[in-house]
Symmetry: C2
Subunit: 302 residues, 2 copies
């Protein structure tokens, strides 16, 4: 039997809701609204980036930034950049040549709404926009901070990061992977972007290397826990709650297919405890929501 559904703590729910609202405003302000002939591109980007979603990655950026007392406006710009990257990856993943998904966040996927060519270009533009934002002086006045954000993001999402993981995902449909390779797949596909999100606050706040490493360790374990619970939700979750069909990963290499549901759940619990333990070096009041977030990842139903 699946564990009984639990909500996020009221404090976490409120903070996530606040984050969603503020980051959505930032996202909206970063996307043009014009009557230029190419406006359908901007509309498609807006559709993809403002179509709902939990904004978990922006939340990580904002909370990571809070640990180091970083200006919230700057953090929101980085949060928006990270979310643009996440949205680009979903748009390209949903294309017929990839997962061929008709639904995303309970609505028609971008290519269903705008056509394949526009969806392809909107994904490309969202990815590029992330780098435009990070390299803009409004994100931070110190060029060393900006270039470190760019360098870290690019490393997290390219051939040795997210895109490499998506390639492994494709190959895993035809080839059986051991748990080690599945771990690597997930670390590349989702873990490295999550690590960027958690570390971005440390970069913005010029944190010392030890503190930055602690956040990176937290992110590493949280990212893996997140992926395990994602796999579990694909098996156990409710399509209506999730806004997308379940059972889609049956042919893919997942933790659940490799180790079964019980072991997968036990692993997720272990990872969450481990993630939280890395936060001990920080003041309790600055990392309370990051701790709550880790618990939420385990208990979420969507």
């Amino acid at each position: 039997m699946a564990p009984s559904p639990r909500e996020a703590s009221p404090k976490l729910s409120q903070a996530m809701e606040d984050c969603r609202e503020k980051v959505n405003k930032t996202i909206s302000s970063l996307l043009p609204q014009t009557d230029l002939a190419e406006a359908p591109l901007f509309d498609a980007m807006r559709y993809a980036a403002l179509g709902g979603g939990k904004r978990l990655r922006p939340f990580m950026v904002l909370e990571g930034a809070r640990v180091f007392g970083v200006d919230a406006g700057r953090a929101r710009r980085v949060a928006a950049a990270a979310e643009f990257v996440h949205c680009y990856s979903l748009v390209h993943d949903d294309l017929p040549a990839m997962d061929n998904a008709d639904l995303r966040r309970g609505k028609p996927s971008l290519h269903k709404a705008y056509g394949e060519a526009t969806a392809l270009l909107a994904g490309d533009a969202l990815l590029t926009l992330a780098f435009e934002i990070l390299s803009d002086t409004e994100t931070h006045e110190d060029p060393r901070v900006r270039i470190e954000l760019v360098s870290n993001l690019a490393g997290a999402i390219g051939m040795h990061g997210m895109v490499g993981g998506q390639m492994l995902d494709l190959i895993g449909e035809k080839q059986e992977f051991d748990v080690g390779t599945i771990s690597r797949l997930q670390r590349l596909k989702t873990g490295k972007l999550i690590a960027f999100c958690c570390e971005a606050g440390a970069i913005l706040g010029k944190a010392n290397p030890a503190h930055r490493q602690s956040l990176r360790n937290y992110a590493h374990d949280l990212g893996l826990a997140f992926q395990v619970t994602d796999d579990l939700l694909d098996v156990e979750g409710d399509a209506k709650d999730l806004g997308k069909p379940t059972g889609q990963d049956a042919k893919k290499a997942t933790f659940v297919s490799a180790m079964g549901r019980d072991q997968a759940r036990a692993r997720a619990e272990m990872l969450v405890e481990q993630a939280i333990s890395h936060l001990r070096v920080f003041d309790e009041g600055r990392v309370d929501l990051l701790k709550d977030l880790a618990h939420y990842v385990l208990e979420r139903r969507v």
Copy 2:
């Protein structure tokens, strides 16, 4: 009658050949060769990036860098980054949802050789790799230079640059544009990346604003001339020489369709003269090849 074919000057030919060889080595060194499970992604990137091509954009970077006495190794890294962006745009443009092109540079296009999903991801990875390269300390030790390269490239190729131009290109298949809109389309689609290539040397060499503006003006006119001759080649050129079918732009908005061949050629000639005039502020010996390049753009058969 088409003008008689003329070759590039022997000096220019030799310099372009040198550039091709050196930049190909740099490109090769920046792409991994591993036996990791995701190696097909790296192979696809290599296929797309090392499949021939004139390397006009890298040549512009190298020659722009020579004007300001920039270290050639650094310039080659930026040249490779620009070429990765160009190759990514070709890979995505060739996909069935876009131009559905089976041939590129005389070989099967990437999705024909590696499948659509891998081609999509390889394009994404090439784009991201460009930012990894530019943000790496090996490209320049000064973070201000690196972030300026990143910011300029991102601005040139995103929604207000190349991708915006590709969107206009799509829309132009269904809607007639006036010459002004076609100019804007071409400036976005190819002109802005060419401008980045020509200006990159000025950024690397910390050139004064006036000199940088002169190179930008050269690039602007050269880029438009290049596009006009590209349109002319699609009508007049030889498919075998070009390595791709001609007559592909018949349904697209081009200068040739808007103003006819004679006027288009006259415009290209005027633009090339104008481009060269912007180089007067530099020592003759430093910009001789940039001048030759402008003439070559007009007279090229491929």
